[in-house]
């Protein structure tokens, strides 16, 4: 199991390098002198010289990348142009909010989605099944920022149950989690339902029947495990979606977090912050993918022997 984990980390390493290279190149691809994208307008020549020295900006590109990478790994993500604070500090301050939001949303999606999907599968082809899946279909196709706005409109403005924005109280996280979560519920419910219905058709289910197990026992004791694997797979694949959702929803609800930080700094052209945020989000996606793969291998014994 451990060996499998190490193998997976090794496969993801090149992806990390490629992603970080792309992030690194952003300041170089934007028209203009890269140094200008890292400094405030009208910065002193001494400041410029300092930056050139620190990042080796007079050296060939691959070397610059390496210098940057080494600094990043040791915790130096540069300095924000507008706020004049170290980017790492800004990210550290905002990260917990994003992690909380993302984590809770993931939990919500998984629990509610899997339950709904399992029920839909158990009662497959009944009115309940069709109604549930139709509602889910509709709920998943709407843009999530619109869903968030509607949530605010109904639950915060009209009913006043929750705060409209910010993160000043614990209940400010409810509507954001619900918004991101509902999008995920659809996906997970669909996958769970499909996996269970698929498993139900397998030969071994006939034998389980022949053993004398009831439909409920077969479902609960055997099939759910079979659905777990595809659900974990889809979670691992779509982990990026949670992060993407978090980015959008933080902005909608004006919550602190990597997402709002990213969007505002994009609008302000504060490239060091943009790079830092994109890098962190990218790493988050990779970690999520890795965890998903490990969970999958833990569940399905057949995967452990395969490479990747």
């Amino acid at each position: 199991m451990l060996l499998y984990g190490l193998k997976r980390v090794l496969t993801l390493a090149p992806v990390f390098l490629a992603m970080s290279a792309v992030v690194f190149l952003i300041v170089h691809l934007v028209p203009g002198d890269p140094i200008d994208h890292m400094l405030q307008i009208g910065a002193s020549p001494e400041r410029r010289a300092e930056l050139v020295a620190r990042y080796g900006l007079d050296r060939p590109l691959p070397l610059q990348y390496l210098t940057w990478l080494v600094r990043v790994v040791s915790g130096d993500l540069g300095e924000a142009i507008i706020l004049k604070r170290p980017v790492a500090q800004l990210i550290a301050a905002n990260l917990p909010y994003s992690v909380a939001l993302g984590g809770l949303a993931l939990l919500f999606s998984t629990v509610v989605g899997a339950t709904l999907g399992a029920l839909a599968a158990y009662f497959a082809d009944t009115a309940f099944d069709r109604a549930a899946m139709a509602t889910i279909l509709f709920g998943s196709t709407v843009p999530n920022f619109w869903l968030g706005l509607l949530m605010i409109l109904i639950f915060a403005v009209q009913l006043g149950w929750f705060p409209v924005s910010g993160a000043r109280s614990w209940d400010a996280v409810v509507l954001p989690v619900l918004t991101i979560g509902l999008g995920g519920v659809a996906l997970i419910a669909r996958v769970t339902r499909a996996a269970l219905i698929d498993a139900w058709r397998q030969d071994f289910v006939t034998l389980l029947h022949a053993k004398g197990l009831s439909r409920r026992a077969i479902f609960a004791r055997h099939l759910l495990r079979h659905a777990l694997a595809p659900v974990v797979t889809i979670l691992g694949l779509k982990i990026g979606w949670v992060l993407g959702g978090a980015v959008t929803i933080e902005y909608v609800f004006a919550r602190p977090g990597l997402g709002s930080l990213l969007i505002t700094s994009l609008a302000q052209r504060d490239y060091p912050v943009v790079q830092g945020c994109l890098l962190m989000l990218g790493v988050g996606v990779l970690i999520g993918t890795l965890l998903g793969d490990l969970a999958q291998a833990a569940l399905d014994p057949r995967l452990r022997e395969r490479l990747a």
């Binding site: 029947h209 053993k211 004398g212 197990l213 014994p301």
Partner: protein, 326 residues
Amino acid sequence: MALLDVRDLSIELGRVQPLDAVRFTVDRGQTLGLVGESGSGKSLTAMTLMGLLPTLRGRVRSGAILFDGRDLARLPDTEYRGLRGRRIALVMQNPMTSLDPMQTVGAQIDEAARLHLGLDADGARRRSVETMERLRIPSASAMHGRYPHQLSGGMRQRIVIAMALAGDPDLIIADEPTTALDVTVQAQIVQLLSELVATRDLALLLITHDMGVVAQACDRVAVLYAGRIAESGPVADIFSAPRHPYTRALIDCIPREGQPRGTLVGIAGQVPGLVSYPPGCRFAPRCPRAGADCAAVRPPLTALGTAQVACLHPLDAPQRGETRDG
């Protein structure tokens, strides 16, 4: 009284009737071979006897399934469940797909024991390992914790048999238990099953398309063609003197030692599809002995010597001194 007495069983699947007035019996300590080509309705028979026809959206149309005197044909599922695994057990064809890939093989055997005998985890494990040893599974204790994909086909089928035995059943229905296995392993499994019948006084319904297996392992045989019994009776008698032309043809298909090249025999034509059964005798279109009356009326199962035959023009009984190869 026979343990299992199937009387004129007809089933319905959608708009077709895959089994039509099927009749046979199985006794304790005995093996009945149910033989037929693909499409004859063999597997459906197994499913029907296990009461699993509703899962295929089928139902029993008429007839009776007497098990130990009790008619199972119209038994509600909740009561049937009490029988499954406990008194009637099923061994399926493909051990690759009939075991749950996500559970250890041991746990799957344990589950049956715990369900039917109320054993606790340790007791069930001990019993499972014992059974596995008796089925000659090497390093049974270690095997107990392995997953199906780590075992060979033959081993997996032994696990399936162990699972079937876990509830201490009286009747085992084996649906083509050796078809998916290597030839060398087939013989082992067949022998295993025969031993079990003898030592545990089990009744075994062995469903197969292989007459060779029937000759090896069965006491009696029932030949199924297109959903109807063509002939049934003791194996020795049926093999030496088949009365139904189809049975004769099946026996002729078995390759014999020393057979000259190019003389393998088949049966001309194909088994009729479910929706296109011919009127009258269903074998008539392929039968070398068919007469004009064969297409008009369904031949009834009548006793002929030690056998039951459904044919209007059965093969003659052999004269004294005559043998099949003569």
